[in-house]
C-alpha cells in the first residue's frame, strides 16, 4: 500500500520555480524599460547645463563675500537663479544694479577666491513645458523642443496610413469575401514574404527606388533627396501585410449565417461585404488599424535611411525631416558617452515613443474587448 503514496519530488518544485521565473522575466523587462527610460529622462529634465551670461565679475571676490560686483553686459540676472563662477555654484538672492547678493557654496562646492574678469554662467534646465511646446531641437545650443521630431514621426505615419489602410483593408476584403481557395493559397504567402523582409531592406528600397520615383514625378526641385514622403509611403507598404492579415482574421470570424441571411434578402456580394460583414468585424479592423499606426510610429530603419538626418519642423512631405526614431539611431550611432545630454535625450525621446505606442496597443486591446460583436 505504501508504494502508492505520493512521494515528495523536490525537483518538480525547482522546475516550477524556474518556469515561473521565466514567465516573470517579461514583467522584469517591462519594469526595466519603464525604470531606465524614467530614470534617464529624469536626469534629462533635471540636468544642469551652464550657459555663459556674458557677464563678468568686475571686482575680486573673497571666499566670505556675499555680494558680487558685476558689469552690465550680457543677459540680466534675476533673484533665485543659480549661477556658477569657476567651479563654485551660487544662488542669486537679490539684485541691485551692479551689486548681486548671493548664497555661496551650493551643491557641495566650496567658496573660493576669484579675480575680476571671470565669466558668470547661468544654470539652465530642459523644462518639461519647453520640451513639449517648442519647435526647435538643437542640442548644441540647449534647445530641446520635441515637436520637430514628433511632427516628422506623425507625418511619416500619416503618409503610411494613407497607403496602408485603404490597400490593406481592400486586400483583406478581397481575400476574405472574393478570392477563391486557389488564389488565397498563393496570395497569402506573398503577403507573408512582404511581412518577413527586414526593415533595412525597405529603407534601401525607399532611398533607391521610391525617392527617385517621386523626384521624377514631382520634379527634382520640389522633392529633396531625403524626404518624409518616400519614407512614409514605404512604411505604408511595410505595414500592408499587418493590416490585411489582422483585418482578414476579423472578417473571417464573422459567421457565415450572417452572409447567408443577407444573400437571402437579395443583397449583392458587395453589399454583403460592405454592409454586413464589414460592420460586424469593425472592432477587429479598428484594432488592426491602431496596431498598424503604432507599428508605423515605432518604425526606425526606413526613416533613418530615407527621411533625412537633422531635425526640421516642416509640414512639407517632400522636405527632409528627422523622426524620433531616426534621431535616436543617428545619435547613438557613434560612441555615445554616458551621462552626456545626448545620452539622456535619447531616453526622453524613447519614453515619449514608448508611451505613445504602448497607449495605442492598449487602446486596440480595449477596442477588441469592448466592441466585439459576439455571434453565437
Amino acid at each position: 500500500m505504501n508504494k502508492l503514496h505520493k512521494r515528495p519530488r523536490r525537483g518538480e518544485g525547482f522546475i516550477q520555480g524556474f518556469l515561473f521565473l521565466a514567465a516573470a522575466l517579461s514583467i522584469l523587462t517591462t519594469v526595466g524599460i519603464v525604470y531606465e527610460l524614467g530614470k534617464e529622462s529624469l536626469n534629462f529634465f533635471t540636468r544642469q547645463m551652464w550657459e555663459n551670461t556674458n557677464k563678468q565679475i568686475v571686482a575680486d571676490v573673497r571666499p566670505e563675500d556675499l555680494t558680487l560686483t558685476i558689469n552690465s553686459s550680457g543677459s540680466d540676472l534675476h533673484s533665485g537663479e543659480i549661477i556658477k563662477i569657476s567651479e563654485e555654484i551660487m544662488q542669486v538672492t537679490a539684485v541691485a544694479g551692479g551689486q548681486v547678493t548671493v548664497a555661496r557654496g551650493l551643491q557641495n562646492t566650496t567658496p573660493g577666491a576669484y579675480n575680476a574678469g571671470l565669466d558668470i554662467f547661468e544654470s539652465r534646465r530642459v523644462s518639461l513645458v519647453k520640451f513639449f511646446t517648442t519647435t526647435r531641437w538643437e542640442p548644441q545650443i540647449g534647445n530641446f523642443g520635441i515637436w520637430p521630431l514628433l511632427n516628422a514621426t506623425l507625418m511619416t505615419s500619416l503618409m503610411a496610413m494613407l497607403v496602408a489602410l485603404p490597400l490593406g483593408l481592400s486586400i483583406a476584403i478581397y481575400l476574405s469575401e472574393y478570392a477563391s481557395q486557389r488564389v488565397r493559397s498563393w496570395l497569402k504567402p506573398i503577403l507573408e514574404v512582404l511581412a518577413g523582409i527586414p526593415t533595412v531592406v525597405y529603407g534601401y528600397f525607399a532611398l533607391t527606388f521610391m525617392t527617385p520615383l517621386l523626384r521624377s514625378v514631382f520634379g527634382k526641385g520640389v522633392v529633396e533627396i531625403y524626404n518624409t514622403a518616400a519614407a512614409g509611403i514605404v512604411i505604408g507598404i511595410l505595414v500592408i501585410p499587418l493590416v490585411s492579415s489582422m483585418s482578414e482574421d476579423a472578417l473571417r470570424a464573422v459567421p457565415v449565417s450572417l452572409r447567408q441571411a443577407a444573400y437571402g434578402l437579395g443583397a449583392t456580394r458587395l453589399e454583403v461585404a460592405l454592409k454586413v460583414v464589414l460592420p460586424a468585424a469593425i472592432s477587429g479592423i479598428t484594432a488592426a488599424f491602431i496596431v498598424a499606426i503604432s507599428r508605423a510610429i515605432g518604425e526606425t530603419m526606413i526613416v533613418a535611411i530615407a527621411a533625412g538626418a537633422g531635425p526640421n519642423f516642416t509640414f512639407n512631405p517632400f522636405k527632409s525631416a528627422e523622426t524620433m526614431t531616426g534621431h535616436i539611431v543617428r545619435i547613438s550611432g557613434g560612441d555615445l558617452s554616458y551621462d552626456s545630454i545626448d545620452y539622456n535625450s535619447i531616453f526622453a525621446i524613447g519614453l515619449v515613443l514608448f508611451v505613445i505606442t504602448l497607449g495605442l496597443n492598449i487602446v486596440s486591446q480595449r477596442v477588441v474587448r469592448k466592441f466585439r460583436e459576439v455571434y453565437d
Partner: protein, 423 residues
C-alpha cells in the same frame, strides 16, 4: 451564388419593377468595387516585385573599372600578372609600395609564408588599385548594352568595362573594406551568426519555459493575468526601445559581465566595453522573447487534453506529463515559432545600432565578448553612403540576407508540413 436570380424566379411583375432599376447600378457598383479590391491586391504584389527588382537591378550590371597601374605593364618576360611566381609578385609589391607598408606586410608574417593568392591579392590591392568609376543597373545593362559601351569608351578610355555580379564568392569570404571593390560580408555574416546563437541560447529556453508555465501551471490569479497581458503588450513595443533598454542594462549596467572583464577575458583593457556580441544577443533575445512565448503557447494549447489526462491518470506527475507527452507533441509548433522569431531577429537593425554595433570591423568575431557587426548593420552603413558603388554592394548584401531568411523560413515551413500530420 445567391445574388444571381433568374428572372423567371421573380414572382410578381410589380416587385420586379420595384427593384429592377436599382439592380443594374448595384451590380455595376459591385463590379467597380471588385476592381478596386483586385487593383489593391495587385499593388501589393507590384510593390514586392519592385522591391526585389530594385535589389537585383543594383546587384548585377556593367561596371567600368580603372586601374591605377595597368596590370599588363607589370608582366615580367611576357608572363601575365596572374601567372607570375610568388617571388616575382613579392618583387613587384616591394617595388611599388612604400617601404613602411611593405615592412607592415612582412611584420604580419614573413613574406615567404604568404601564399601565391595572398600576394596576388596584395598586388591587386596596393599596386594595381582598380577603382570602380561608374556602374550601370541590370536593366540598363541588358537593354542598352551598346549605348553603355559607347558612353563608357568615350568617358573612360582607360577603363575596363565588363558585366559584374557584385555578389561573388569573394564577396562572401572577404572582410569589410573601405573600397567597394574589395569589401565583403564575411565579418558581418559571422557576427550575425554569433549574435543569433546567443539570442537563441537565451530566448529559447526562457521563452518555452514561460509558455509552459502560463499554459500548464497557471491558475487564474491576478499576477498570472498581468503576466499574460504584459507579454502581449511587450510584443508591440518598437524594437528601438529594446535597443535603448539593452544600452542601459547590458552595455552600461552589466558592463563587467558583457565586456568579459568578469571572466578575465579582456584582450585590450583600454577599448573593452559592453558593446559586444553578448549584449547584442541578449538584447535581441529580450526582443523576440514575447514572440517565442506567444507561439509556444499556441503550440502547447493545441496539444489535446486527452493526452495529459491519460498521462496523469496513469500516475505521472505534472512535470513528467509535460516533459514526456506535451512537449514532444508541441515541439514542431514550438520550433516553427522559434525559427520565425529568429528570422525576425536576423533582420533587426535599429536595436543593434543603439546597442553599439561597430561598423568597420575587419577581423572575425571570436566569441561572445568580441566587437561585432551584422549583415543588416552593414547594409545600413553601405546604403547610407553617398557613393553609388556602395549601393551595389549593399544590394549584394541584401541578397545574402534574403537568402539567409529564405532558408530559415523554408525550414520552418518544412518542419510544419512534416510534423503537422502527427496529431
Amino acid at each position: 451564388m445567391f445574388n444571381k436570380r433568374k428572372p423567371s424566379q421573380v414572382p410578381h411583375d410589380a416587385e420586379k419593377d420595384a427593384f429592377q432599376p436599382h439592380l443594374h447600378s448595384r451590380h455595376r457598383a459591385g463590379r467597380v468595387w471588385l476592381l478596386v479590391f483586385q487593383v489593391s491586391t495587385l499593388i501589393g504584389i507590384v510593390a514586392l516585385s519592385a522591391l526585389l527588382y530594385n535589389v537585383a537591378n543594383a546587384a548585377f550590371g556593367y561596371a567600368a573599372i580603372e586601374n591605377k597601374v595597368d596590370p599588363a605593364s607589370l608582366s615580367i618576360n611576357g608572363i601575365p600578372l596572374e601567372q607570375l611566381h610568388p617571388l616575382d609578385l613579392t618583387y613587384i609589391l616591394q617595388e611599388h609600395v612604400s617601404e613602411g607598408l611593405f615592412r607592415k606586410f612582412a611584420r604580419e608574417k614573413p613574406m615567404e609564408e604568404y601564399s601565391r593568392e595572398e600576394i596576388y591579392d596584395l598586388v591587386m590591392r596596393w599596386v594595381v588599385q582598380p577603382q570602380v568609376v561608374e556602374t550601370w543597373t541590370l536593366f540598363d545593362s541588358l537593354a542598352h548594352r551598346d549605348e553603355i559601351m559607347r558612353q563608357a569608351a568615350e568617358k573612360y578610355p582607360q577603363a575596363r568595362i565588363f558585366f559584374r555580379s557584385w555578389l561573388t564568392s569573394q564577396f562572401l569570404t572577404t572582410p569589410q573594406s573601405s573600397k567597394p571593390e574589395f569589401a565583403g560580408v564575411r565579418t558581418a555574416i559571422l557576427g550575425s551568426l554569433w549574435t543569433i546563437l546567443i539570442t537563441l541560447l537565451f530566448a529559447f529556453p526562457v521563452g518555452v519555459g514561460a509558455a509552459i508555465y502560463l499554459e500548464e501551471y497557471t491558475i487564474d490569479t491576478p499576477l498570472n493575468r498581468i503576466i499574460q497581458t504584459n507579454i502581449n503588450n511587450l510584443a508591440g513595443v518598437p524594437s528601438i526601445i529594446y535597443g535603448i533598454l539593452g544600452l542601459a542594462i547590458f552595455v552600461r549596467l552589466l558592463e563587467p559581465l558583457t565586456s568579459g572583464a568578469l571572466f578575465g577575458y579582456v584582450k585590450d583593457a583600454t577599448t573593452a566595453n559592453g558593446r559586444t556580441i553578448l549584449s547584442a544577443g541578449l538584447t535581441l533575445g529580450l526582443l523576440i522573447l514575447p514572440l517565442i512565448i506567444i507561439n509556444a503557447q499556441e503550440a502547447i494549447r493545441a496539444v489535446p487534453g486527452s493526452l495529459r489526462q491519460a498521462s496523469l491518470g496513469l500516475g505521472a506527475t505534472r512535470w513528467q506529463t509535460i516533459w514526456h507527452h506535451v512537449l514532444p507533441s508541441a515541439l514542431p509548433g514550438i520550433l516553427t515559432g522559434a525559427i520565425l522569431a529568429v528570422s525576425r531577429a536576423v533582420g533587426e537593425t535599429a536595436p543593434l545600432v543603439v546597442v553599439g554595433a561597430s561598423t568597420f570591423i575587419t577581423f572575425d568575431p571570436d566569441g561572445p565578448f568580441s566587437k561585432f557587426t551584422t549583415l543588416p548593420i552593414q547594409i545600413y552603413q553601405w546604403t547610407a553612403r553617398p557613393q553609388a558603388e556602395f549601393r551595389n554592394i549593399a544590394a549584394a548584401a541584401i541578397l545574402v540576407l534574403l537568402a539567409l531568411l529564405l532558408t530559415l523560413n523554408a525550414s520552418a515551413v518544412l518542419l510544419r508540413n512534416r510534423f503537422s500530420r502527427r496529431l
